[in-house]
């Protein structure tokens, strides 16, 4: 009985500790400025289809300081891979080494998939996301809504919680979202360091969000 009590208590303390660590990690985000060291390594969650086009437009605007760039795509998505390669080739200088990689992980959710099986495949995606993010240790994760964002951001948060590396979470809600956040957006809103929305109606509903007008 005592052993059980002790065990329960230690589990509760661990959870409490992790929650406090999560709070501190998220709260101190804006103070963290990886750019002052010269370059910012970026994990770009490309997802699929329209999400990829949007995020590449954002990447196009970022300077060479955002190097290296690691793109994560769903393993069923050939079109995104081609778009990324075309984009990266277009900005590569003639003599330099390519400054990007493409990593594939299983899709969290296909468009027609039900919620319950979405949960299972998200857990499955986490198995791939954790080793990937722990290996790359990016300064920031840039994402804009595909389901794949969630396990990757969770892995980034975990690095912060464990005190290994502060990974900034930069979330840009898709321009598709005019009145309501995406499910991914709702999940990541409380833990993002910079959360951008592109329509004023969303800014009014989510006060922590950043509204700069349409940015893609």
């Amino acid at each position: 009985m005592e052993v059980l009590c002790g065990l329960t208590l230690s589990v509760l303390f661990t959870i409490l500790f992790l929650i406090i660590r999560l709070y501190i990690t998220v709260k101190n985000g804006p103070k963290h400025q990886p750019g002052t060291t010269g370059s910012v390594s970026v994990l770009v969650v490309a997802g699929s289809g329209g999400h990829t086009s949007e995020i590449l437009r954002l990447m196009e605007s970022l300077s060479a300081a955002y190097t290296p760039r690691h793109y994560v795509i769903a393993d069923t998505d050939r079109m995104s891979e081609e778009k990324i390669c075309t984009f990266e080739r277009s900005r590569q200088h003639s003599n330099s080494e390519p400054q990007f990689t493409i990593c594939q992980i299983p899709r969290s959710r296909e468009v027609h998939q039900s919620w319950s099986s979405s949960v299972i495949s998200t857990v499955n995606a986490l198995r791939y996301s954790l080793p990937l993010v722990f290996r790359l240790r990016p300064d920031m994760v840039l994402c804009n809504g595909p389901g794949t964002c969630v396990p990757l951001c969770a892995a980034g948060l975990l690095l912060g919680i464990l005190g290994m590396k502060k990974v900034l979470i930069v979330y840009v809600e898709s321009i598709c979202r005019v009145q309501t956040l995406s499910l991914t957006g709702k999940i990541l809103y409380p833990v993002s360091d910079y959360f951008f929305v592109q329509w004023s109606s969303l800014r009014d509903k989510y006060p922590k969000s950043i509204f700069l007008g349409r940015i893609v």
Partner: protein
């Protein structure tokens, strides 16, 4: 040759491909002076035969590295409601008709199509109203679209992250 370009991005949208190649729709396109119909069908399982529309010259493909050239050649773009496809068409300055897939689980795409429609940048309909829309639409009401300012985002991020 006046061309209509239909794009479904990376999705499968058989209903759109099926409806646009029906003889009623092909007839409506022909009546508007379009002579060529290019279909990007993505992951769809319905692949129309090249000779299935006698009224109009038909070309079909699944994916290309870039559909910019197809957009450029088009006089009208018919697209699914995905942001990438919509914004690419609007960015290319083409008249755009968005066909909303009302069978998607979480039909958030409607929000953007509706908002851009409210702002007069595109026309929109569903598959069930597509043929009627092709007959009755008035493209002259459309307003030019100014692309989003990515530079503002980049400047904000540079400042926040301390990038020199």
């Amino acid at each position: 040759m006046r061309t209509v370009f239909v794009t479904v991005g990376t999705t499968c949208f058989d209903e759109l491909i099926g409806t646009i190649t029906s003889s009623e729709s092909a007839q409506a396109l022909k009546a508007r002076g379009y002579e060529r119909l290019v279909l990007q069908i993505g992951r769809g399982s319905f692949v129309p035969e090249a000779d299935s529309c006698p009224q109009i010259k038909l070309e079909v493909f699944r994916f290309k590295d870039s559909i910019a050239e197809d957009m450029k050649q088009a006089d009208l773009v018919i697209s699914h409601a995905g942001a990438g496809s919509c914004l690419e068409a609007l960015g290319a300055g083409k008249p755009l008709l968005v066909v909303v897939n009302d069978k998607l689980m979480d039909n958030h795409q409607l929000e953007l199509a509706q908002q851009l429609h409210v702002d007069s940048h595109l026309l929109y309909c569903t598959c069930s109203t597509l043929t009627e829309t092709l007959r009755s639409m008035d493209l002259s009401v459309l307003q030019p679209y100014q692309p989003g300012q990515t530079k503002i985002f980049a400047n904000f991020l540079d400042k926040a992250l301390g990038v020199q």
